[in-house]
């Protein structure tokens, strides 16, 4: 079938006889019709998502959706953000009547997970749930009621679950630990893990390091800014063990050895320092590098070392002008008349005599000597010349590190990797200005959600009072301590639990350790890093005994869980360590497992009661409010939910109503949880504020108006207004701590980049030293040799096995939401797959599409292989999100993931190493799990 020749430009003779025909095609004109259009988006955790869509309806049904694409150009010379969307989003309609949809309350009639159900009424379902909750309260206390925090929560779910759990006094486990998206190394450095620039700010970058991310899969609506930056001269460098899908359009692909990235970053730091390319002004002002440290103890020089009764939180630099140690100001990064030495050895009179001190910079430099390019190349596999070359570029150009959400945190030593990345950015002055930085995920801005939880009636006055009170408290605090700024104060308030502690969340580590079987896993020393000097339990016990986590160290050892309410997530699919350990250890303790979902998830399948929820387009809501997209994005209710599905607010309201009546009937009276009295006999009244908040439209209208009052969105904001406009751009930071902590005022005509107040105004960071901090001189860290940035090889989690299994978000689903969606399944092989190098496959004798068994000392799963030379020999990639029931025997990859975390993350009692919602806490990881693989 040989074909050759040049294209013919002439219209074929056969057609010449019938010009201008357009017959027989009206059917397609008819298919493209509608009678109503609404604004929409998807209020799920496709973070950052927030794609404005239009939903097209016909005869009262949603027919399809289409990207709205109505963004203006914000900053001259920067491409607009149109048309945000992804394949899941533009086909979401297909989920509305999908076979995995749940339409009626279901009660299990078989064993848990057996798949035998009966339809029950909402009333029956709520009665059983209410009684189980009241039993739990009577027998254990409200802490026996657990809500894992899935992240696919829309606004009504967040509001409903948050208020319900708060009124009950139950335990909501922190979502960031559950999803393992906390970047501990960023937190150690900056006192927060989540500085986030807007996606269009990427366009300003001159060097783009795609590092721990795969934006081609996970940033579909935003990935174009990388390609466009490249067309403007930016160099794209993809750093990953595999030739990842995001390497396709990179200029360079650096095939780094799995888990060795800190060595690569430190080698670049070495080059930057050794060649004198570092930004001395930047590090002297922004970081702790000029602070004095005693090399014999590796601890900062503190006021307490110098003066009797001196502070533990006042630090020093050496003033080259006056030749003496001077206290670093805490209220500003600016040194004023002081000229701090970045390097040198100095004698200081301390309470114990004269001590030779040096600077953090000198200690760091000494450590960097271990990572000269040639040496580091042996560790990380990247050629020394390539390291040098890249380091020089980073030093001279605006550099952006893009992990989609920074998946470094999904590695055991992710914190070390992140700290090394931060050090590179610091040495090269790469944060706080356009086109620079590193990022995890950010949220905040939607102040109305925060104030709503406190409201007892409609109207602005209560919110105005809250805002006034906050202003007064802040003013009083700042007057009392002039070193505070709005940011430091806000973050401290959050750390003390006074503000912004979302729905009373607690770190899940205590639940997992005490009741979910994880103690057996975490105490396996051989799965930890060899530098853990003492048994894991000692650290855990010390952390508890020292009250480092109080009052969030719940549930207590005497508070066994009894009821679990999964709303907005899929805890069995999601939990690192796998469903098996939860089903074996946690599930038997639970008298009642309730799942509220739109679909039959793995968790739903193992529940006692499944409650049907409204899908996108069937309830009002907003996308996750984040500076990544700079918009509050509205999703309207276009249609009524089908069957007996309701929105989450309504579902919790119905349960609350039933608790109220059953508590009255049973005589379950008031009780105290934490420090607050609660009364189940009035819980519905409190939940709805005396019947004020039942209707979803009233709730979101109130939230919008309150958010406007806080100055985050335009003053005229209301439900009617956003129904007209679809989205609002952020106008201010508002009052939510995580938004305030971005430390940059949004500007209408500029892309957003965080930390400008630090870099431009010298505002301090919310860390122990009030500077970006590279020395963490907590005793545990010193003991482990991790007080300074370093590299450590990943431990053999899972045992001594030849392959490393890695992971990542997949392209075809938002978490597990779309994994069973036929439309998406059609765009791949319709089943989970494991990416494996052909040479490895040949060695174990499997061919493309064949089933393999992966197993280790922890567990096993089976999956079909997909062969590709993009996979690094010895490493296999199992993209996550597939639901348990897509694997034979329902054993998902999580069952082979130990779900370890580094013991150091239990540390506290040290400046910023203190829990607040979504921030400092232990988060189990799963990358680089060791497995053996054989043909199944």
């Amino acid at each position: 079938m040989e074909r050759e020749g040049t294209p013919s430009a002439t219209v074929s003779p056969a057609l010449a006889g019938r010009p201008g025909r357009t017959d027989g095609i009206d059917e397609y004109r008819r298919r493209w019709t509608w009678d109503e259009v609404r604004w929409a988006s998807h209020c799920i955790d496709c973070y950052p998502g927030n794609c404005p869509m239009r939903v097209y309806m016909r005869d009262g049904k949603v027919v399809r959706e289409e990207s709205a694409a109505e963004f203006p150009t914000y900053m001259a010379g920067v491409p607009d953000m149109n048309p945000m969307g992804c394949q899941k989003g533009v086909g979401w309609t297909r989920l509305l009547d999908a076979p995995e949809r749940v339409l009626h309350p279901l009660r299990r009639v078989g064993e848990r997970g057996e798949g035998r159900w009966e339809r029950v009424s909402w009333d029956e379902a709520c009665t059983e749930i209410a009684d189980a909750i009241l039993d739990a309260i009577e027998e254990v206390g409200p802490e026996a009621v657990i809500a894992p925090s899935g992240c696919n929560l829309g606004t009504l779910a967040l509001a409903g679950r948050g208020k319900f759990m708060d009124l009950l006094g139950g335990i909501t486990t922190d979502l960031n630990a559950e999803m393992n998206d906390f970047a501990a190394g960023y937190y150690m450095t900056w006192g927060m893990f989540d500085p986030v620039s807007s996606i269009d700010d990427w366009f300003h970058s001159e060097v783009f390091l795609i590092w721990f991310g795969n934006p081609a899969y996970t940033r579909i609506p935003h990935n174009h800014f990388i390609a466009e930056a490249r067309y403007r001269g930016c160099e794209i460098v993809n750093i990953a063990p595999d030739v990842s899908p995001s390497a396709v359009h990179a200029d360079y692909h650096l095939p780094v050895r799995p888990g060795s990235d800190a060595a690569l970053a430190l080698a670049m730091c070495h080059v930057v320092v050794a060649e004198g390319r570092y930004d001395e002004t930047f590090v002297t002002e922004q970081t702790d590098l000029p602070l004095l440290v005693d090399p014999s103890t590796q601890r900062y020089l503190r006021e307490a070392d110098l003066v009797d009764g001196g502070s533990d939180e006042v630090f020093y630099a050496w003033d080259t002008a006056t030749q003496q140690a001077v206290a670093a100001p805490r209220g500003t990064l600016r040194w004023g008349a002081v000229d701090p030495a970045l390097s040198g050895t100095f004698s200081v009179d301390t309470l114990t005599g004269v001590v030779e001190v040096t600077t953090v910079f000198d200690l760091v430099r000494e450590r960097l000597d271990e990572f000269a390019p040639e040496r580091a190349a042996e560790i990380c596999g990247v050629h020394a010349d390539v390291i040098r070359d890249l380091a020089r570029k980073v030093a001279s150009k605006r550099t952006n590190i893009l992990g989609s959400l920074n998946a470094a945190s999904k590695h055991y030593h992710g914190d070390l990797i992140e700290r090394a990345q931060c050090l590179l950015l610091a040495l090269t002055g790469n944060w706080g200005c356009h086109g620079t930085g590193a990022r995890a995920w950010g949220a905040g801005f939607f102040d109305g959600l925060l104030t709503f939880a406190m409201k007892t009636r409609r109207g602005p006055d209560e919110t105005a009072a809250v805002l006034d009170m906050r202003d007064m408290m802040m003013k009083a605090a700042l007057d009392a301590d002039p070193t505070l700024t709005e940011k430091v104060w806000s973050v401290e308030m959050a750390r003390s639990g006074t503000m912004g502690n979302m729905g009373g969340m607690v770190p899940p580590v205590f639940l997992w350790y005490r009741f979910a079987g994880f103690r057996d896993i975490w105490t396996r020393a051989e799965w930890h890093d060899a530098s853990m000097p003492r048994p894991f339990d000692e650290y855990f016990d010390e952390a508890v005994a020292e009250n480092w986590w109080a009052p969030a160290d719940l549930p207590g050892a005497d508070q066994p869980p009894r009821v679990l309410i999964e709303c907005g997530g899929n805890v069995l699919r999601r939990t690192r360590g796998g469903s098996q350990v939860l089903l074996e250890h946690l599930w038997p303790r639970l008298r009642m497992v309730v799942t509220m979902d739109v679909r039959m998830s793995a968790t739903a399948a193992y529940s006692d009661i499944v409650l049907p929820m409204a899908q996108q387009y069937e309830k009002v809501g907003f996308g996750i409010p984040t500076s990544h997209v700079m918009h509050l994005t509205f999703c309207d209710k276009a249609v009524e939910p089908p069957g007996e599905a309701v929105d989450e607010w309504e579902a919790f309201r119905r349960i609350a109503a039933k608790i109220e009546s059953r508590a009255t009937e049973r005589g379950v009276g008031p009780y105290t949880s934490g420090t607050r009295p609660r009364d189940p006999r009035q819980i519905h009244d409190a939940f709805t504020a005396g019947g004020t908040f039942v209707d979803q439209e009233a709730i979101v209208d109130e939230m919008l108006r309150d958010t406007a009052l806080a100055g985050t969105i335009p003053a005229e904001a209301s439900l009617d207004e956003i129904r007209r406009r679809g989205f609002f751009r952020w106008e201010g930071l508002g009052i939510m701590p995580r938004a305030v902590a971005q430390a940059t005022e949004p500007r209408p005509d500029e892309t957003f980049v965080p930390f400008r107040k630090h870099v431009e105004d010298g505002d301090p960071y919310p860390t122990l030293t009030r500077r970006a901090q590279f020395l963490i001189d907590h005793p545990w860290f010193i003991e482990a040799g991790e007080h300074l940035p370093t590299h450590k090889d990943p431990p053999a989690s899972g045992g001594d096995h030849p392959f490393q299994v890695s992971s990542g978000h997949n392209r075809w689903s938002i978490h597990s939401l779309n994994t069973a969606n036929k439309l998406m399944l059609e765009t791949h092989r319709g089943a989970p797959h494991l990416v494996m190098n052909e040479r490895d496959a040949a060695e174990i004798g499997v061919g493309d599409g064949e089933l393999v068994r992966l197993h280790n000392d922890k567990g096993e799963f089976r999956v079909a292989v997909k062969l590709s030379p993009t996979a690094r020999p010895g490493q296999v990639i199992m993209y996550n999100g597939f639901d348990d029931y897509q694997f034979p025997g329902w054993s998902s990859p999580n069952n082979a993931e130990p779900g370890m975390f580094k013991w150091l993350h239990l540390a506290g009692g040290y400046g910023h190493l203190r829990y607040w919602a979504t921030e400092w806490q232990p988060c189990p990881v799963m990358r680089n799990t060791r497995v053996s693989i054989e043909k199944a």
Binding site: R3, G5, G20, A69, G113, H224, L823, T870
Partner: protein, 364 residues
């Protein structure tokens, strides 16, 4: 059925598209956008008028490049009709059994093709597999739809005259009332971009979203491509980006021009990361994607096109400016769409009003 006939005289033209493969991330948003709009009725389950494949790869339908068709020396070349299993997909899944069958974890969710539990192909079966050897593996994404060819051999092969090329915009269409399902078009089309509707016994293919174009709205795939990379417009609009990219700068090329049908979909060919030497230092000389492979797709002009892109990149990296790259950046999204920039949400397309339009157009 109402027939809509345009006047026999009047403007002629050719609507064309340029896909910038250096921005395409293989997300299939275009494919899904097309699917939810046009192919969700009976018999259309396996149809993906727009589809994106990983190249090198066997694509959809499987091994379509080996199936012949098109023209050879100006005459129709023999071609093979793709079979249902060459497309694969259109699967059923055992949802009921898994969720409500009482079998627990003794069964699991899986596609059911042709009544059993095996699947052999789908529209994107070889996604992200690629070619080469680690660490120098390579691939890129190639979105494909009907090329609305200047010489549509599909229509020429149609024995009933059901297929035709529309005068004013060159869109190749089919009168499904007249289509007898002979499938000669499927044999003839060298791009194998025609599907057969086994329920309705007619062939179907991409209609270039003509109802949208008629209202000044860009095609669903192009308008929703989050990569911002699909240019749409009249090929002879000398002020438009398509004309510049294709004819002036020569950086956008047709796919398999040697098939002889004069395709009107063009591609900016893919760059790739530098190769690595065995010692992991960078090989600036040897291209990662073998040039002969790219030539097999885009013809010999691919080399000059890529050289031009590289030169322009060098220019901007040394502080200069580039009209070509600025065009490909697309500072304002609507610049992609020529005259087709209408927001569909602004239209009145109620079934009633559209029915009026259909019946009030001059009948032919």
């Amino acid at each position: 059925m109402t027939s809509v006939m345009q006047p026999e005289s009047g403007p002629t033209g050719q609507v064309a598209m340029v896909f910038d493969l250096n921005k395409c991330m293989g997300c299939q948003t275009c494919s899904v956008a097309c699917k939810v709009l046009w192919t969700r009725e009976e018999g259309e389950d396996h149809q993906w008028w727009m589809s994106v494949n990983t190249q090198p790869g066997r694509g959809t339908p499987k091994d379509w490049e080996d199936m012949g068709g098109g023209l050879s020396g100006g005459k129709p070349a023999p071609g093979r009709q793709p079979r249902r299993e060459d497309f694969g997909g259109g699967w059923d899944f055992n949802y009921q059994e898994v969720f409500y069958g009482g079998k627990g974890n003794k069964t699991h969710l899986r596609p059911v093709e042709n009544g059993d539990n095996t699947t052999s192909w789908g529209m994107n079966w070889d996604e992200d597999q690629g070619a080469g050897e680690y660490p120098n593996a390579y691939y890129f994404y190639l979105p494909r739809l009907c090329n609305h060819c200047t010489r549509p051999v599909c229509a020429e092969a149609c024995p009933t005259g059901a297929m035709y090329k529309r005068r004013e915009d060159g869109i190749v269409l089919r009168n499904e009332e007249a289509c007898l399902g002979s499938r000669f078009c499927m044999e003839a089309c060298p791009y194998k971009k025609i599907y057969f509707n086994y329920a309705r016994k007619v062939a179907q293919h991409c209609i270039m979203c003509f109802p949208r174009l008629e209202e000044g709205v860009a095609p669903a795939c192009a308008r929703q491509c989050p990569g911002r990379l699909v240019f749409v417009g009249m090929l002879d609009d000398t002020d438009g980006p398509i004309h510049k990219l294709v004819n002036e700068w020569g950086v956008a090329l047709p796919l398999h021009a040697e098939y002889g049908t004069g395709p009107n979909i063009f591609y900016v060919p893919p760059l790739a990361p530098y190769r690595l030497h065995e010692d992991m230092s960078i090989d600036y000389e040897t291209p990662r994607i073998p040039p002969e492979y790219l030539e097999s797709l885009f013809g010999p002009k691919v080399h000059t096109a890529l050289d031009k892109l590289k030169t322009e990149l060098d220019t901007v990296r040394s502080g200069g400016s580039s009209e070509i790259l600025d065009t490909l950046i697309v500072y304002h999204w609507n610049e992609l769409f020529g005259e087709y920039t209408t927001d569909p949400a602004s239209l009145d397309r109620s079934p009633a009003s559209v029915a009026v339009q259909l019946t009030t157009k001059p009948a032919g």
